[in-house]
């Protein structure tokens, strides 16, 4: 026990995160030096930037006169393909992620199952969508099938991981109470676990639909179908007004999804 009188009248400070003073300073100075060195390696060609500004300006100005009509049938087909790709991939991805998420939650699954499911998630998350799409386009050829498979695959990594984490942080006692009644494993999941993670599952699913739709616009750039292909063509032809129209439609759809997800999440909470 310290004598309280030795503490009275002395200032108090929060103990520093790094206890050794010299180490603290070395780390700080090192970080600053690294930042300065890193910035000095950036090589900017200002003449090129000046030329580019003009093209940038045209692109931005195109948003004031977006052209929906000239390539309306291309835009329509691309959009439809993107939407179908998004919905199909989200449904398939979510259905597959749920069992994987159960397997990847340490408080539910035995160790071998846990390790297998965690590796599936790790693989899915390590491979970026574009890389997967390039591979799948090489296998299945150009078109929305490759995009659909890519998005399904990416959805599994995303949703399983976040859902598994939600399952791991659930209230143990509620689940215990269901177990104590003599419930079977499936009943235990349905009554003890599912109600606790349902809002999160729904929220994540809608968020993933949102991401899948935006990704579907990118995947077209590597030939995996969807609106991205149309967008890419517009850029290649310097048709910024058509590109602007496509981007505006994407923005509107994403905002609509955002709004819907807010409404649904408020309802399921």
């Amino acid at each position: 026990m310290t004598d309280v009188n030795t503490l009275i009248g002395k200032p108090w400070r929060k103990p520093p995160f790094i206890k050794r003073r010299w180490l603290r300073w070395v780390l700080l100075i090192g970080a600053v030096a690294y930042l300065i060195a890193a910035y000095m390696t950036i090589d900017v060609n200002w003449a090129r930037v000046y030329e580019g500004l003009e093209r940038g300006k045209q692109f931005v100005l195109a948003f004031t006169s977006p052209d929906f009509s000239t390539r309306s049938s291309d835009i329509y087909e691309g959009m439809l393909e993107s939407v179908i790709m998004t919905i199909a991939a989200s449904v398939v991805g979510i259905v597959i992620s749920i069992p994987i998420a159960l397997g990847a939650a340490r408080n539910i699954a035995p160790l071998p199952v846990y390790l297998i499911c965690r590796s599936i998630i790790a693989i899915s998350r390590a491979l970026q969508e574009i890389i997967v799409a390039i591979l799948l386009v090489a296998i299945f050829g150009f078109g929305p099938l490759a995009g659909f498979l890519t998005l399904s695959f990416a959805t599994i990594g995303f949703l399983s991981k976040l859902l598994a984490e939600d399952i791991e942080s659930m209230d143990k006692v509620q689940a215990e109470a269901i177990k104590a009644s003599g419930a079977k494993w499936t009943q235990w999941i349905n009554y003890g676990v599912q109600p606790q993670v349902m809002p999160r599952l729904i929220g994540l699913s809608i968020y993933r639909v949102d991401i899948n739709f935006r990704e579907s616009a990118i995947l077209g750039l590597v030939g995996a179908g969807g609106i991205g292909a149309t967008l890419n063509t517009a850029f290649d032809r310097y048709e910024y007004d058509t590109a602007a129209a496509i981007l505006l439609i994407i923005i509107v759809i994403v905002m609509a999804l955002e709004y819907i997800s807010g409404v649904i999440r408020a309802r399921v909470q």
């Binding site: 209230d171 269901i178 177990k179 009644s181 003599g182 349905n190 009554y191 606790q196 809002p199």
Partner: protein
């Protein structure tokens, strides 16, 4: 009816929560398990229905030995042991009715429970129980809309609809105010008497335990230190269970409480 033989639980950390506990409870007896935090009260109760696996020892419920059962048989035996929890442990996002009916999960198949198509007899019994605890009008409310006392009543219904022979009750009043605590304790004890159930009630509040039960077990460091009627809890006994403290006030309070109950 329930018999524990040399029940030992050692946690992975090396903490010995239960040291060869021997206990026998006859049919229909309600007993209180008292003791300081960490004495192993919760562990003891959970070792009986194997929410916690005992390290060694035996548990007999009726004629059946529980510690060696396969998971299927254990589920069947768990139906005979209703459990009531400290923080109610209702599934918060399910309705009151779903929570009560979840006590029947051990009796109905998966699809019936998944589709919430319970047999009419279960639904009738659920309404009868909810009515008995005064909550029949709340059946379709979500569990998290209820107050603490109401939630615990739902918890009681969930345990009773299992049609158990034994109630395992873990700190039923720990998060309730003094008045609600008494009401809940009284309700549990009345229902046990009505249905002839045996019960083990973990409880912090010594005075409350003395008011309602016929037998008290005092647990200290995982061993039984006291086993007797509530009147046997003298200051000396409380000191052996809990450690040195002025116990006169607690015991006096008991007398007052008793007087009040008598009125």
């Amino acid at each position: 009816m329930l018999r524990l033989e040399k029940l030992v639980k050692t946690y992975k950390t090396g903490d010995q929560a239960l040291k060869a506990v021997e206990l026998e409870i006859p049919e229909g007896q309600v007993l209180a398990l008292i003791g300081p935090s960490g004495a192993g009260k919760s562990t003891l109760i959970r070792c009986i229905n194997r929410l916690v696996e005992p390290t060694s020892g035996k548990v007999y419920l009726g004629g059946v030995e529980l510690t060696g059962l396969s998971s299927g048989n254990l589920r069947r035996e768990r139906r005979r042991m209703g459990m009531i929890f400290q923080e109610y442990a209702l599934v918060e996002r399910l309705s009151v009715m779903e929570n009560v009916l979840s006590g029947r999960l051990g009796y109905v198949g998966f699809w019936r429970s998944f589709l919430r198509r319970y047999p009419q007899s279960d639904i009738d019994e659920a309404f009868r129980l909810l009515d008995r605890v005064g909550l029949a009008h709340m059946a379709d409310k979500r569990a998290d809309e209820l107050s603490g006392g109401q939630r615990q009543r739902v918890g009681i219904c969930r345990a009773l609809i299992q049609d158990p022979a034994l109630l395992l009750v873990d700190e039923p009043t720990a998060s309730l105010d003094p008045k609600t605590s008494r009401q809940i304790m009284r309700l549990i004890c009345e229902l046990c008497k009505e249905r002839g159930l045996a019960a083990i009630i973990n409880i912090h509040d010594v005075a409350l335990a003395q008011m309602f039960v016929q037998r008290v077990i005092g647990l200290r460091f995982g061993a039984v230190e006291f086993d007797g009627p509530p009147e046997g809890l003298t200051p000396d006994v409380l000191t052996t269970i809990y450690g040195e403290e002025d116990w006169e006030a607690t015991i006096e309070k008991v007398d007052e409480d008793d007087a009040e109950v008598a009125i």
